[in-house]
Every structure is written in structure tokens, then in C-alpha cells.
Subunit: 326 residues, 2 copies
């Protein structure tokens, strides 16, 4: 676990001067450590996969970063306001949502991030799993402490969905769409999913954890997922920079979250409607205790899907699985 | 921690035949243990405070139980359907709600109970504390896995409040009233409080923990609480049997919870209205971001208080602190 307050300051410095030489003397003075200590740290960074060239009497130059979602990389590549004030980073973890809930219970700050290179027990909705192999995706959870009532929590999912769809569109040019309530599709196949969990009491929400899984550089999927799942790499035919997608998502999330906090959720909703692939279409919904077919008319402020059934009655659907019908 | 599956079977047997002699031979055969093992268990029960007389060749007779809320006592004194399938009992704990949330997260069953003789960090609403000294109150949490949407969770608080008010009225004859949203008052002073917490996701509630604290035999309160808090003992002028109040509450809770599960919440609501001391009265409400004065007209299905303000507009209040005005 790496938290921002224990970030590697040398790495941050080298990242801020990527491609330039920084002298050992400068580093030594800046951090008040010996040249030997610096050399040890450089060695450690190289072992992590950083390409750092060194020239006697000139210094060190960071040439290339490994493909890792390290806190220092995120910090140096983004300009965030409240997200990532604490970043918990794990090479491998069971589920980022489970860990985020644990951290939130222990008092983790609003905006804390939990990021893993691999999830061994990634979670989807309704107890399903989310395949999260090492270093190919973005497996992340955000801890939030919003001033919302529990019934307004779906707004967080909608904010995540808009931010993720926007980030994917910007990073890849692909026509990424939102499928109510929590999936992102490209060409009809699932490329990302959102799982929002909440803890609250009678006076409101205590914390929300919104988890997002984005299949970035997966090269294939198990037989049973081939028809329904895809990755950005499979769509674009080339490797996609995970860090770029991630930092784009974080900055978009902050942008839309601000509307939500300012009582201007309608701005998020408007984007959501534009990006959604369900609206105006025939849908079949399987809920916990019901099944329904009809036309998806709209979503409301509380994230409910409004479906006009055969009988002409408009039903307000809070949760369920949606299949699109032609 | 004592769970039902590890209940003391000898104690259960003696409780079922309280006042009668049970022969060592019978016990020995029933449980397949030696007479010496039985004698050791009897010794242990005596150390816990049980008065057990023994007569050579006749056997053991349980004369008197100590004043403890042990699982065996609850099981032998009640006839519950789903509550108490697992009972977690603690002589002392930080907070039963915190422990219940932890257990629920780990998969504890619907209806599990967490009971403590003392809470060292008892919780009230909005981060307040609930004074829970040893052996004088009922400090308990119920773990539930209801088929409700998050916005319906206040129904659980209302069910707890009705059951607790009924149990107190039956056990003591006192005119116990509900003050929206979560307090029970006698003669205008707080005698019990309810704290309902919830964990859920986009598909509904994962679990609810409803905690209840009842001041039973407290003999006094700190200076700062004297004006606002009371106990059943202070009201009735005599010691009250904690176990009786507790088992009465559990059986009432099951009765009203059945309505809730059957989609007949109106039956709970009806009782709640009768027992409530706010309705029809002038109230002052302090919320997180607002203050309001008006007449409390009613509560709705979602537990919101409907307040008619000065301007004549009816406001729907989801949470806040209520003061009664004359």
C-alpha cells in the first residue's frame, strides 16, 4: 500500500523533469540525503521498470516509465482538486471496492483512491465477478462522502458513467455508450462496468464507494465472455495508455462531481442522456421480482429508468438487468 | 462471543426445568459426557452467578439466574422465528452496531443478534454517544437482510420503534411514546434510542443493522443528561427485568417485521402514528442545512415527517433533530 503522503519524492522530481538531467547534488540538497542513498533509490526505481540513464557529474534522467498506475504517475500527470488526496496502490488485491469500504470504515478521506494492477476477486453487480487480470485494465475505487440522501446515491453511478464514457471517447475516439444502469459498451460489447456501494444511516450517507473496471489492453476473453466483452485494445487495434485513460477519467469525474455537489445534477443527467444507448429503444428488464418489456423513455433525477410497458403504463425501474431489443 | 450453535446445552436443559431436579445420570446420558464433566460445568455456571442446588443421588436444580442477557436465557424465554438464529453475546464491547456491521460484512445471517452487557463506545445519531454502563440496559443490534430499496430503510427504524415502545409499555405500564425519528420518551425524557445503519448497492440493500439502546435499571445520569434522560427504573421506582423487556421486544419486532416483509407496512405505520408524540404538534426541526418550524402533520411510507410550515407549505423532512414546542 502506498499513500500519497509516503509518495516517492525522487520519482516525483524525476517525473516533473522527464527527459532532462537532474544532478545528484541538486537531489541531495533538496531532500537532505546522501548521494549513496539516492543511488540506492535509483536502483530501486530501475528494478521497478523505470529507464533512468545516469551520467557522471551530470546526473540522472528519467527516460521511460513502466506501464504501472503508480500514485506518483497519477499525481504528476493530473491536476486534481479533491480526488487522490490519498492514493492506495496495490500490485494485486482481492477487490478494490472491498478494500475501499474497509478504508472508508476506518475514516479514509473524501476523494481517496484505491487502485490495483490486478484484482483476484473483482466484483460486479449482484454478486457477479469482474475479470481483472494484471496490468491490462483500470481496476479502481473512489471513496466519497457526499451530502446526499441514500436515495440519491445512483447519481454517483451516473456521474462515474459519464466521466468514464467521456474519458474513453477522448483517449480512443471510440463510440463508447452507457447502458443503464452501470455498463459502458462499445459496438454493443461491455468495455467497462461500475459498481457503487453505500453505507448510510438515518441522517444520510456515511460513505459511497464507486468502483470502476475498464478493460484497456486485454487481448482476449474466455470463451463465455467473447460475445459480450471487449477491451479498448481490441476495439482500436493497438495498445492504449492506461494512465492517460485513468487521468482523463479522474479529471472528468471531478468536473461532473462538482455539478452534483452544487445541486446542478441536471448537467450530468443531460450528458448521461446523450451518451446512453437505451433511451428511446425497446428494452427487456429482468428485476429481482419482476420482468418487463417496453420502451425506455428516460431516466429521472434518482437514476430510475422510466419504461413504457405494453399496456401504456410508465413504470419506474430502480434496478434490474436490461437487454436491448431490436 | 457466544453463538447459538455453541450454546451451553446443560444450561438450556436446566432452564427448561427451572425449579425441578434433573438427575446427573439423565444429563450424563443425554449429552454423552461423564458425571465429572457435568460437575465442572455446574461449577462454571455457579461462578457466572447461577444458583444451582445439588442433592446427592437426586441431581441438580436451577433456582435462580443472574441478571445477564445470555443467549440461553433469551432462547429459553422466547419463541422466535428468525430473530436470534445466531446470537453474539459480549460482556463488554465498543459498539454493538459496529460489531454487527462487521459481522454482516462477513456474512452473518438475517436475524442475527449482537448483545452486550456494556458498551464502551455506544453510538447515537450524528456521531453522538449513547451511555451504556454495565448490566443496566439493553444494548443490542439486529442484523437484517430485507428485500427493500435503500430509500425504504427508515421503515426498519419505525418497526424497531413500535416494537420497543410496545415492549416497554407491556413490561412496565409506562406511557412510552415515539419521537420522530428515533427516540422513545417517557414523560418527555429519553428512555431509548434507535440507530439504523445500512449497506447497499445499486440493486438494493445488502444489510441493515438496527441498534437499540434501552435505559432499564440506570439509577442516575450525569448532570448534563439529567433533564433529558430517564430509565425504566427511575420511572417505575423499582428494578425492571431486562430479560423480560428484551424478549418482549424481540417477539414484537418479529410481529411487525412480518407486516413489513409482506408488503403491509401500513399496519406498522398505523401503530407508529398512535404511539408518536410529535404528530399534530408544533415542532422545531434542525437539519443539516436547514431549520424549520411548523406543525408535524404525519409521516409517510418512507418515514419522512410532513411538516406544515408558517407559510402553509408542507415540507417533507427526511432527517433532522426535532424539538417539541408547546
Amino acid at each position: 500500500m502506498i499513500k500519497e503522503r509516503s509518495t516517492n519524492k525522487l520519482l516525483l522530481l524525476l517525473l516533473s523533469k522527464k527527459g532532462e538531467y537532474v544532478s545528484g547534488e541538486e537531489i541531495s540538497e533538496k531532500f537532505g540525503v546522501s548521494r549513496t542513498a539516492i543511488w540506492k533509490q535509483i536502483k530501486h526505481l530501475r528494478e521497478m521498470g523505470y529507464e533512468i540513464s545516469s551520467m557522471p557529474r551530470i546526473g540522472y534522467c528519467l527516460k521511460k516509465s513502466p506501464d504501472l498506475l503508480l500514485p506518483e504517475e497519477i499525481i504528476s500527470k493530473s491536476n486534481l482538486e479533491f480526488l487522490g488526496r490519498e492514493i492506495y496502490y496495490y500490485p494485486s488485491i482481492g477487490s478494490t471496492n472491498e478494500e475501499a469500504k474497509r478504508l472508508a470504515q476506518e475514516g479514509a478521506l473524501h476523494g481517496s483512491l484505491v487502485i490495483a494492477e490486478e484484482q483476484t476477486g473483482g466484483k460486479g453487480r449482484m454478486g457477479r465477478t469482474w475479470m481483472s487480470p494484471p496490468r491490462v485494465g483500470i481496476w479502481m475505487s473512489i471513496i466519497l462522502r457526499p451530502s446526499l440522501e441514500p436515495y440519491e446515491a445512483p447519481r454517483i453511478t451516473m456521474t462515474s458513467a459519464v466521466a468514464a464514457a467521456k474519458a474513453i471517447r477522448k483517449s480512443t475516439g471510440a463510440d463508447c455508450r452507457i447502458k443503464w444502469p452501470n455498463d459502458l459498451l462499445i459496438e454493443g460489447k461491455k468495455v467497462a462496468g461500475i459498481l457503487t456501494e453505500m453505507s448510510g444511516d438515518m441522517d444520510g450517507i456515511n460513505y459511497v464507494v464507486t468502483g470502476i473496471g475498464i478493460n484497456v489492453n486485454n487481448e482476449d476473453f474466455p470463451e463465455e465472455l467473447k460475445e459480450t466483452a471487449t477491451s479498448l485494445k481490441l476495439v482500436c487495434g493497438k495498445n492504449i495508455d492506461r494512465l492517460e485513460v485513468l487521468t482523463e477519467f479522474l479529471s472528468d469525474f471531478e468536473e461532473y462531481y462538482r455539478y452534483l455537489e452544487a445541486g446542478e445534477f441536471k448537467n450530468v443527467l443531460q450528458e448521461w442522456r446523450v451518451l446512453c444507448c437505451n433511451l428511446g429503444r425497446r428494452v427487456k428488464i429482468a428485476g429481482r421480482n419482476f420482468a418487463l418489456e417496453g420502451i425506455a423513455l428516460d431516466v429521472d433525477d434518482d437514476g430510475a429508468l422510466l419504461v413504457k410497458s405494453e399496456s401504456g403504463k410508465v413504470e419506474r425501474i430502480l434496478s434490474g438487468d436490461v437487454s436491448l431489443r431490436e
